[in-house]
């Protein structure tokens, strides 16, 4: 369920490192809790955020969830497909449903994230 190639935050975001860029999305658990996503709001490329800062919101029929960036850096790309197809987050949360790419400035931000085994244990323990 949770790929080894990703790292996970306690806020249920995942991060995939590609060179100096992190691809960020929300986890399967997070999308399942939210239900069917109908609106996604992400920042504009060029905006800078500190780790743990809110970068956007994801709305389902039932609820709204804030998305926090696990890493400090600059937004370099947003997933434009989500504007018309927000359901990608439900269908493929760890792949096609990615949210933003951030050029991160501190390797240290990644150290606080969990690997897949630790995240699964975190979920089992009930957050």
């Amino acid at each position: 369920m949770y790929p080894d190639t990703l790292r996970y935050s306690k806020d249920h975001e995942w991060v995939r490192v590609e060179g100096d860029v992190c691809v960020i999305g929300i986890t399967h658990y997070a999308q399942d809790e939210l239900g069917e996503v109908v609106f996604v709001e992400v920042p504009e490329p060029g905006q800078e955020f500190d780790a743990h800062e809110e970068i956007g919101t994801i709305e389902s029929v039932k609820a709204v969830a804030e998305v926090f960036t696990p890493v400090t850096g600059e937004i370099v790309e947003v997933n434009a497909a989500l504007a018309d197809s927000p359901e990608l987050i439900n269908q493929d949360p760890h792949g096609e449903g990615w949210l933003v790419k951030v050029r991160f400035s501190s390797q240290g931000d990644l150290d606080g994230l969990m690997d897949s085994a630790a995240y699964e244990k975190f979920l089992e323990d009930g957050e």
């Binding site: 239900g35 109908v38 609106f39 709001e41 389902s60 029929v61 039932k62 709204v64």
Partner: protein, 367 residues
């Protein structure tokens, strides 16, 4: 999920587990919020059929000499005009004309009625009725006598007809009969909370699971799905049906909620009548309106309506409409602003988003 002994289970609890329902606590009950997904369940009800467990609703029997007069004095609609075998929508109002609850009244006989009330208000409603029962009519909480299944959607009648010998075509909208479904005694009521045709089936609790399963068996091939509270909410919002705690509560009156048709001021006296007469004569200051959100995002309950940086109203309900595929909602606004086509500004989590007032309901089924 932690076990909580104070949270009650309906007779269909096991059926929800078996169907993969996601259970949440609602009004003191463990209820399914969704099974396959809110959007899918919603669309199934609009195009085929869905079944909802609404066993959490409260039911009171009001009977004995003086029952009609008691209800006439306690509710704003005209009980004297309600015929046996028929149902009407009404409410319990405070002396201020605001809502204690909204409810359905079923008339069985001259002096025998069933009231169906919101689960969250059942205890309060019963106490309210008891507190006003000077005539000493028989007032019984019979909530635990019923499992309640709502079968809703354009295919509801066709599906139910396969399971009953009762003539469904003879049951008009807001009428009921005591018949049978799958050989089990059932009060079959042509009512619902979705804006579709459909039935509400009042069963003995022990009979409810078997009827639920038979509806799935027979209806499944026609597109029937089990539907949860999530879809129930989006369906009732599209149909612009009021929900206690949202459009109506103890601070709002039927007049401003667009429910003046429930209030028969000239029929007879009732609790809250004097206040409503005064409000009518003075003129309303605010009104419930429907709106389409023109920007992104969903305006939800409690979000503010603003004009010139001032809060002038508030959102009572909002959702993404699966039928219209856009964000819709309802809000109280000053009467001076309550014009179809007028623009509104909504404060959605600190961001000002434009909306336009539209006619209610958002969705009306083709007859």
């Amino acid at each position: 999920m932690a076990e909580n002994t104070l949270v009650r289970r309906t007779p269909l609890y096991d059926a929800h587990q078996a169907a993969g329902g996601k259970l949440v606590e609602f009004a003191g009950w463990q209820m399914p919020v969704q099974y396959s997904g809110v959007l899918q369940e919603h669309r199934a009800v609009r195009t085929a059929a869905g079944i909802f467990d609404v066993s959490h609703m409260g039911e009171f029997r009001v009977s004995g000499k003086g029952a009609e007069g008691f209800l006439q004095a306690m509710t704003p609609n005209d009980v004297a005009k309600l015929k046996p075998g028929r149902i009407h929508y009404s409410g319990l109002l405070t002396e201020q004309g605001t809502y204690v609850d909204d409810l359905l009244i079923y008339r069985f006989a001259e002096e025998e009625f069933l009231l169906v009330v919101n689960a969250a208000n059942a205890e309060k409603d019963l106490a309210w009725l008891q507190g006003h029962n000077d005539a000493g009519v028989t007032l019984e909480d019979v909530s635990s006598d019923y499992g309640l299944i709502a079968l809703q959607g354009p295919k509801a009648e066709a599906i139910l007809s396969e399971l009953t010998s009762t003539d469904l075509t003879a049951i008009r909208y807001y009428a009921f009969v005591e018949g049978e479904v799958s050989g089990r005694a059932t009060l079959i009521s042509r009512t619902g909370y979705t804006g579709e045709d459909g039935f509400e089936l009042y069963l003995a609790p022990e009979d409810a699971p078997a009827v639920w399963d038979r509806l799935l068996d027979v209806g499944g091939p026609a597109g029937l799905v089990p539907a949860g509270l999530g879809a129930r909410d989006t369906l009732r919002m599209e149909a612009a049906m009021a929900l206690y705690g949202h459009e109506i509560d103890d601070t709002t009156t039927p007049l401003e909620a667009g429910l003046q048709w429930v209030v028969k001021l000239e029929a007879s006296d009732f609790v809250g009548r004097q206040a409503l007469v005064e409000i009518r004569d003075a003129g309303l200051t605010r009104k419930l309106v429907g709106f389409n959100v023109e920007g992104r995002g969903i305006a939800r309950q409690g979000h503010k309506v603003i004009a010139e940086d001032e809060e002038v109203g508030f959102v009572t309900s909002g959702t993404f409409s699966p039928t219209l595929e856009r964000a819709i909602g309802m809000a109280y606004v000053p009467v001076s602003m309550a014009t179809i086509g007028a623009s509104l500004s909504l404060d959605i989590r600190g961001k000002v988003v434009p909306a336009v007032i539209v006619d209610l309901p958002f969705y009306k089924r083709a007859k």
